[in-house]
Every structure is written in structure tokens, then in C-alpha cells.
Symmetry: C2
Subunit: 267 residues, 2 copies
Amino acid sequence: MQANAPIGVFDSGIGGLTVARALLDLLPEERLVYYGDTAHLPYGDKSEAAIRSYAHGIVAFLREQGCKAVVIACNTASAVAYDSLKSEFPDLPIYNVIDPVVEYVTLGDGEKAVGVIGTRTTIKSDIYRRKIKEIRRLIKVNSMATPLLAPMVEEGFLNNAVSEEVLKEYLWRKPMLKVDQLILGCTHYPLLIDQIRKVISRDIEIVDSAHVVAKKVAVHLESENLLNQKKASLKSAFFLSDYTPVFEANANRFFGEKVTWIERNIW
Amino acid sequence: MQANAPIGVFDSGIGGLTVARALLDLLPEERLVYYGDTAHLPYGDKSEAAIRSYAHGIVAFLREQGCKAVVIACNTASAVAYDSLKSEFPDLPIYNVIDPVVEYVTLGDGEKAVGVIGTRTTIKSDIYRRKIKEIRRLIKVNSMATPLLAPMVEEGFLNNAVSEEVLKEYLWRKPMLKVDQLILGCTHYPLLIDQIRKVISRDIEIVDSAHVVAKKVAVHLESENLLNQKKASLKSAFFLSDYTPVFEANANRFFGEKVTWIERNIW
């Protein structure tokens, strides 16, 4: 692997851009190759076999693009496709969005309660609870599906009366009232973090997976001597499998700057 | 066709149950066979070819079940698959959820403004505007995508602070402020009708496609002597392609009574 090669990032759509943003904020010398699999979104509705097959196609494409590492910036694909990607691409460092968060919240000792919010698919998979309990059995994990949050964010309802009411409706429910940390278990949710903090109004830690994952990638690539030593000369590239204008408008909001998309059907 | 045969109704999921409800309320002697294609929902994300292929499989199944007529209780499938279903099944009366509504709002004469709300796919297809304009050019049609409403209804956020804020956010936008009639262009929306009326607060007519379509079906089947003359002895049957407990809980709310589902993969 070349240290000056790009880092691949993929998601079923737009959410992974929060991870891409966090990566570039932390590692401004790096170049990304992003793939949003908009033709198949939402992954949450698809079978595990289908998601695995999409993910394999995408990682093969990212490797062809010369990527030195790949970040699965999607909870559903992380839950379902990580193991098979690791065995299919044994030489490529691959990161998912779940393990770094589990590792982070299980640091230290003592009892505590951790809340997890995510899509119906992610919460139903129970993956956060299982992985946290494997490491620290005494941590109480309160999971709750919050399926309206992702479409709400995609609709641009942020920091307004709608998002406030929706967040209150979810976060003032009993399982969330006594948690010490809250995991944002969906890559759409970092856009809501300020308002989530305001609605919760207690002083708890909100664990934004985009940042935790970016840190994990930075530390690991550094230890492997795979970080770019000078600013990449090429700009990051953004591919998607099905272009729509709505997606483009949303993408700019998620990424915090204008994104130029290239449509590329890789199947 | 036998008058005592059932009426087939299908949708990608749950929304069509509002049409099923309206049909049984209007025609209590009838028996329905409902098919919810939950394995492929949401149709809005799928290609036209894929939706047509699903719809053909479902109508073939409904005909095997002995249905005397079929209602496409889904806007996306109505827009995309109606013509090909008509030519594939020429002897079967087939109804869609769009034409009866277009026919209804274009009755009479004079200028007026009609609002249409629906999913992103339905509004993007521009089908209501095109069909209305074909019949009465002077009707002004203001369409607006309201993509958060369907997931909101599926989440059970009805008549609460969330649904009020979301409806205000949409319905107080300029294109909706001066309409004389409002078409609910999605079979999920009848569950919101009371709150929509409250949020609009002007005295306009809200056109609930479930009721308009049920009336159309009733009038047409009557004219063909295809209405059941005495109460059906069998109960209505409800099939779906992929069972989940969440779907079942939602379905009861949409249908207004408990539904017993049979999982049947017809592909």
C-alpha cells in the first residue's frame, strides 16, 4: 500500500458523508474516494445476501481506484458485510462504524448505562448491545429504534420545530432518560447533535460515531505508516450509483461543502 | 366473472389498507383479497421495470385467487404499471388510485387551484398535474413532495405534536396557501386527514383518494352487475411477501381492526 493512496469510504447513500467530513477534518492531507450506493438505498430494507454482494462490488471498485484502506460508513453494511469483506480482501485495512464505538464506550470500568439510537434494522440486529456486553457485561445498554430521524435529516428538517418535536418524542422516552452516554448509531445523526444535546438537557456524553471512527482510522493508518505525508495533489472523488438532484442538494448539507458527483454503475 | 368473487387490492405495503377500509365501509357485502408487497417496499425507490414486474406477479396471484376486479392501491404502481396491467389482463377490471381522483377534481367548470401532496416519486412523475391539465387546462395545479409524511404515519406519529409540526412545515408553504382543493396523493395520508384539516384551518375540500376510488369501484362494479348480492361467507384474506411484527402492528392501525396476515412469496 502507498501512503499517498486515497482512503475509500462507502455508504448506501448520503449518511457516510458525515464520516468523510470527520476524516478530512482530522486528516486534511488525505484524499478520499467516496461511493454512495444510491441505486440500492435504503440498505435497511434489503436481505443480508444482497447487502454483502453490493458491498463486495463497491470494495472491489475502491481497490481498483487504488485505495489504501476502506471505511464502511454505514451501520447496516457494517453489521452485515464486515466479516465477509475482511476475508475477501485480507490485505486491505477495512474499518466499520460499529467496532470503534464499542471499543470507545467500553473503555474504563464501573457500571453505567449506554443508550443507542439507530434505524429499525440496526436496533433489531442488536449488534451494539451484543458487542458491548461481550466486553463489559455490567454496562446496561438501552437501545431504541428512531426510524423517523434519517428521513427527517434527509428532508432538511434540522434545528427547526419539527426536529425538536421528533427528538423530544424519542429522547424523552423512558429507556433514554437514565443513560450516561448516548451512541448515535446512524451516520445521519451527527447533523442533529446540537439539537439532541439541547433536548436531552442533562450533561451526558453523546458519542458521534463519525468522529470516533475517523480517530480510529487515523491512529491505525499512522501506526502502519500509511498516512499521507503531504497534502494530496488530487481532490477527493465522489461516486454514486444513481444520480438525482435531490441527492446532490442533500449531499452538500451533509458534507458541509459542495460535492461534485460522478455517476458510476459498477454492477 | 362471478359477482360473489372477491375484489383484489394491492400495495407495496400498508398504505393500501386505507383503500381496503374504504371499500369495505362502502361495500360491506364484499370480500377482499389484499396483497402487501412488503419484500419490495418502498416501490418509490425501484425502477419502473421492476415495479411493473412485481405488479404483474401480484395481479396474476390475485386472479388465481379468483378476484373479479383488482385495485392498485398504491400511487407509484398506479403511475407506472396501470397501462401494462390493463393490456396484460384485458378481461379483468383494474382500477388505479389516480384516475378516479383526477376525474373527480375535474368535474364542473371554472378556474380553481388544486394542491397535490405525495411522495417524492409521485410528485416527480407529475402525473396528477398532467392528467388534470389534459382535461381542464385552466385548473392550476400546485404539487409538493411531502416525503416525511409516510414514514411519520408508519411510525404511528398521528395527532400528536410531531405530526402537527410536520404538517405545518409542509402545508403552510406558499404553494399550498391558496388552493381550493387538496389531493392526498398517497394512500398513507387518509390517517392524517383530521389533523390536515385543522392545520389548514381554511374551509377547503380535502380529496381523500381512498374514498374516491372506493366509490369509483362501487359504481363500476354495480354497472357491470358484479356486486355481491349477499354478505360474503368467507372473510377477507390478507397476504404479504415479507412478514415483520412492526408491519403487523402498523397494519391494525391502518385498517382500523386486527388483520391476520398470511406470508406468501409469489416469486
